[in-house]
């Protein structure tokens, strides 16, 4: 009886698996993945990068865009250094892709971890993410002026939570400090999700999280957006002013891209590029981007590599001026 049910269940599993794997993907081309594809995420669980990577995993499987499953792996240690180093070690591997953040350029600039991003294969930039200044909904702060006054009054004890030191959140914080001549105590956490939780729990006083990371709590009325660091107001927060319109030139983007290791076969690079192009066209992705205030502006190939190198040069200056 036991053995029989065991046998049936194994047969069931095998049948189910072959249904998935057998159903052929719709992508043309001579190269197909031979085993599950590892999707390395440069940040911890629950953050913006993590959410996008897991959304893509789900769309790829739901729409049957690939013949193999995608396995997301978080390697958020050391501001993404862990992930970068891992990708370097996967040289020539055709089954690893990485979801990047801006720490893709800032981390190798800040520390010598033996990684040159020019060596990696760019696949696709899916979107540009935005930054918003958030406080707990219980706080009295309603405007940017209130915020600056409160931080100044705290005399350096104002706790700004964010991702790892030297990553995007800390750069936006540094820009705020420079513009207004204020000082924060910057507390690094492992990912935007943890930062969001700590803001709601009042363990930190403010964050510059991406809208996607804070959306759930915002809808529940637990947090308040103060100002957006974008050129124009965001569609989802029509009442939240931009720093720019208040006369402060603070605009910062987070790119959401995918890259592959050095030496990945060209056929595989083409395969993944095409995969991401198909992804970009799906309705789920378009809806997600709109709801989470992402700018879905796709570029691929050498254009993306130029963008990376250009951004690296820009960040070199930002880092030099902020440290």
């Amino acid at each position: 009886m036991v053995y029989k049910s065991l046998k049936t269940s194994i047969m069931g599993l095998v049948a189910g698996t072959s249904m998935i794997f057998g159903a052929n993907a719709a992508i043309a081309g001579d190269w197909q993945p031979q085993k599950p594809i590892t999707m390395v995420i440069m940040a911890g669980q629950g953050g913006g990068a993590d959410r996008i990577a897991r959304l893509f995993q789900s769309i790829i499987q739901k729409e049957n865009l690939a013949n193999m499953p995608i396995l997301p792996v978080n390697k958020g240690g050391g501001s993404g250094a862990e992930a970068l180093r891992f990708l370097k070690d996967q040289e020539g591997d055709a089954h690893t892709v990485m979801a990047t953040l801006n720490s893709y350029y800032t981390t190798p600039l800040r520390n010598d971890i033996g990684v040159d991003i020019a060596e990696f294969n760019p696949l696709a930039r899916m979107a540009m993410d935005t930054f918003v200044l958030w406080v707990n909904a219980d706080s009295d702060i309603k405007t940017l002026d209130d915020y600056v006054a409160a931080v100044s009054a705290a005399g350096g004890n104002w706790k700004m939570g964010g991702t790892g030191t030297g990553q995007e959140d800390s750069l936006v914080t540094a820009m705020l400090e420079k513009e207004f001549g204020i000082k924060h105590t910057y507390v690094p956490f492992k990912g935007g999700g943890t930062v969001a939780k700590n803001l709601v729990g009042n363990h930190i006083d403010s964050t510059v999280n991406n809208p996607a990371e804070q959306m759930g709590f915002w809808k529940a009325g637990k947090v308040r957006p103060i100002v957006a660091f974008t050129p124009d107001r965001l569609d989802v927060f029509p009442d939240v002013p931009t720093a720019k319109e208040l006369g402060h030139e603070i605009v910062y983007w987070m790119q959401r891209s995918f890259v592959a290791p050095k030496g990945m076969p060209t056929a595989a690079v083409d395969y993944y590029t095409e995969l991401f192009e198909k992804l970009a066209a799906t309705e789920e992705w378009q809806t997600y981007a709109k709801e989470k205030a992402l700018v879905a502006d796709m570029i691929t190939g050498s254009e993306l590599q130029d963008y990376f190198l250009d951004e690296r040069a820009k960040h070199k200056q930002i880092l030099a001026s902020s440290e």
Binding site: G16, I20, G78, K197
Partner: protein, 515 residues
């Protein structure tokens, strides 16, 4: 009453014949995945996630929950039979589970583990059903300072783990903490202790590699040496009557199980902690409240019951922050979160309001999965025990293969396999010299958590060390950990006074060993 209506609607879905079949399938697959060292609920859920698209979403949730539970039950099996914890949550189960198996009580240990898991899981699901929404606020109250205090509390349970030799325990904790600092520092991003520039060490020393090395390889080496004259085959027979009488004895451990369930649920609910500290704290607590603490570590059944109740309760508890806050407490819940995003659900504060059907369907499937898991587990115990009757020469080779494959599979790096070999030999010599291995492995698991929260608190509080005792929650935990630290020492001192002749007769023994 609203609650009951919602829950019964959930049950209507989860008890349909098709979904029941899915539960049985999922639990069985989960059990085997969990029983393999190196594979855990993470792998199980990851493998099955794509399958969830060929069934309706409600059945998909049920399948994932069934695998999750099955793997949690399965983790205890390799801990008891082979002495290799399949996941960090099952480390505490080896302390007494393995000695029981060596005494020929493997079947009883497995029954106890299965039943305790059932009780822990069920109590936790009931707590979850009743208090999920208000408890989310408790999870929010936990900042870095509270996290640190909680991990410190988990550390104090180590004091009792290493037996009477506190010095050796402390040495092993320190060694584990040193290993836990290997890799990239979270706060500054600088690599630490990477032995020159070995890239393999950038991601640190993983728990799995160390546990497989010292427990798996180390144990095999030790057994080869000790059994060369008379290769022992465990006397492992089991009949239906044994199962019934085993279940009957479980009644005696009501206190241990209720302690483990509540402790496990509350600790598991906190986003940072999870099931490993929960199972340890339950073990420590069971030992310290026991009338015969000296029998722990030598095959006391309560030493299996306590951690198994707690780790199952904790894995249910860890679903709470995932559902109510959108923050996964463990890698497995992160995958479940990914699954929910796939079905167009957004975990977070609004989920319980926007998607009550989904939430209650999931909760009711946890009840179903739990019942199915305990029944299937008990039904399969004869099969697991039968594995122990293999000749040692065969079993030993199988264990070695499992160790190497299990160590290689998660990251597919040869670096990890070499580390396993090194840790294996180190584990063998440490065991010969009578050093406890559990504190080493557990310090590696908890060390990074403790260091991170300690530094975050100090940064946030401008270096004010008193921040930890200025906040009521963390102050309570710190006070409790001091109490737990002092309690066994006081007990030891009192005992050594009373049994002075006993103590002095032990002494020459020690010095002979050391010289």
């Amino acid at each position: 009453m609203d609650l009951l209506t919602l829950l019964s609607d959930g049950f209507a879905t989860s008890l349909s014949p098709f979904n029941l079949m899915i539960v049985i399938l999922g639990v069985t697959a989960g059990l085997f995945i969990g029983a393999m060292p190196g594979l855990g609920s993470v792998n199980g859920v990851a493998i099955v996630l794509p399958l969830t698209f060929i069934v309706p979403p409600a059945s998909a949730i049920i399948l994932l929950a069934a695998i999750y539970y099955g793997a949690m039950y399965g983790g205890a099996i390799s801990s008891i039979l082979l002495g290799i914890p399949g996941a960090s949550t099952a480390v505490a189960t080896t302390f007494d589970g393995r000695p029981m198996a060596q005494k020929g009580e493997a079947a009883l240990a497995l029954i106890a583990a299965a039943f305790a898991s059932f009780v822990g899981g069920t109590v936790a699901v009931i707590l979850f059903t009743l208090f999920a929404v208000p408890l989310a606020d408790v999870a929010l109250a936990f900042g870095p300072a509270e996290e640190f205090a909680l991990v410190l509390l988990a550390f104090t349970t180590f004091v009792g783990l290493g037996g009477d030799d506190i010095l050796k325990t402390i040495i092993m904790i320190c060694l584990g903490l040193v290993l836990s600092t290997v890799g990239l520092d979270l706060i500054s991003g600088q690599p630490r202790l990477i032995f020159g520039d070995l890239p393999g060490f950038y991601s640190g020393v993983s728990f799995l590699v160390l546990a497989i090395g010292v427990y798996g390889i180390g144990e095999v080496l030790y057994t080869i040496e000790t059994s060369k004259s008379n290769p022992t085959v465990s006397n492992a027979k089991i009949t239906f009557k044994d199962v019934i009488s085993g279940l009957k004895t479980m009644r005696r451990y009501t206190k241990t199980m209720s302690l483990g369930s509540f402790l496990g649920f509350f600790v598991g609910m906190l986003p940072a902690a999870g099931a490993t500290p929960a199972s340890l704290m339950a073990y420590g607590l069971a030992k310290q409240t026991s009338k015969k603490p000296e029998t722990f570590g030598k095959g006391n059944i309560e030493g299996v019951v306590a951690p198994e109740t707690a780790n199952n309760a904790a894995s249910t508890g860890s679903l709470l922050p995932m559902l109510t806050l959108g923050i996964p407490g463990s890698p497995t819940t992160a995958l479940l979160l990914g699954g929910m995003v796939m079905w167009g659900l957004m975990p977070g504060p609004m989920l319980f309001i926007d998607q009550p059907d989904f939430v209650w369907g999931l909760i009711s499937s946890l009840y179903t999965a739990n019942v199915a898991a305990v029944l299937i587990n008990i039904a399969l115990i004869p099969l697991f025990v039968w594995a122990l009757r293999m000749p040692f020469s065969v079993l030993c080779a199988i264990v070695l293969v499992l160790c190497i494959v299990g160590g290689f599979a998660p990251n597919q790096k040869m670096h990890d396999v070499w580390l396993i070999v090194v840790f294996g030999f180190a584990g063998y010599f440490l065991r010969k010299a009578d050093y406890p291995l559990a504190p080493l492995v557990l310090a590696l698991v908890l060390g990074p958590l403790m260091e991170k929260s300690f530094r975050q608190t100090l940064i946030a509080e401008q270096g004010n060390i008193f921040a930890f005792i200025e906040r009521p929650l963390s102050a309570t935990f710190i006070f409790l950990s001091l109490l737990f630290f002092i309690w066994p020492i006081v007990g030891l001192l009192r005992k050594s006074k009373q049994e002075h002749p006993h103590f002095s007769s032990k002494r020459p023994n020690f010095s002979r060993q050391n010289s």
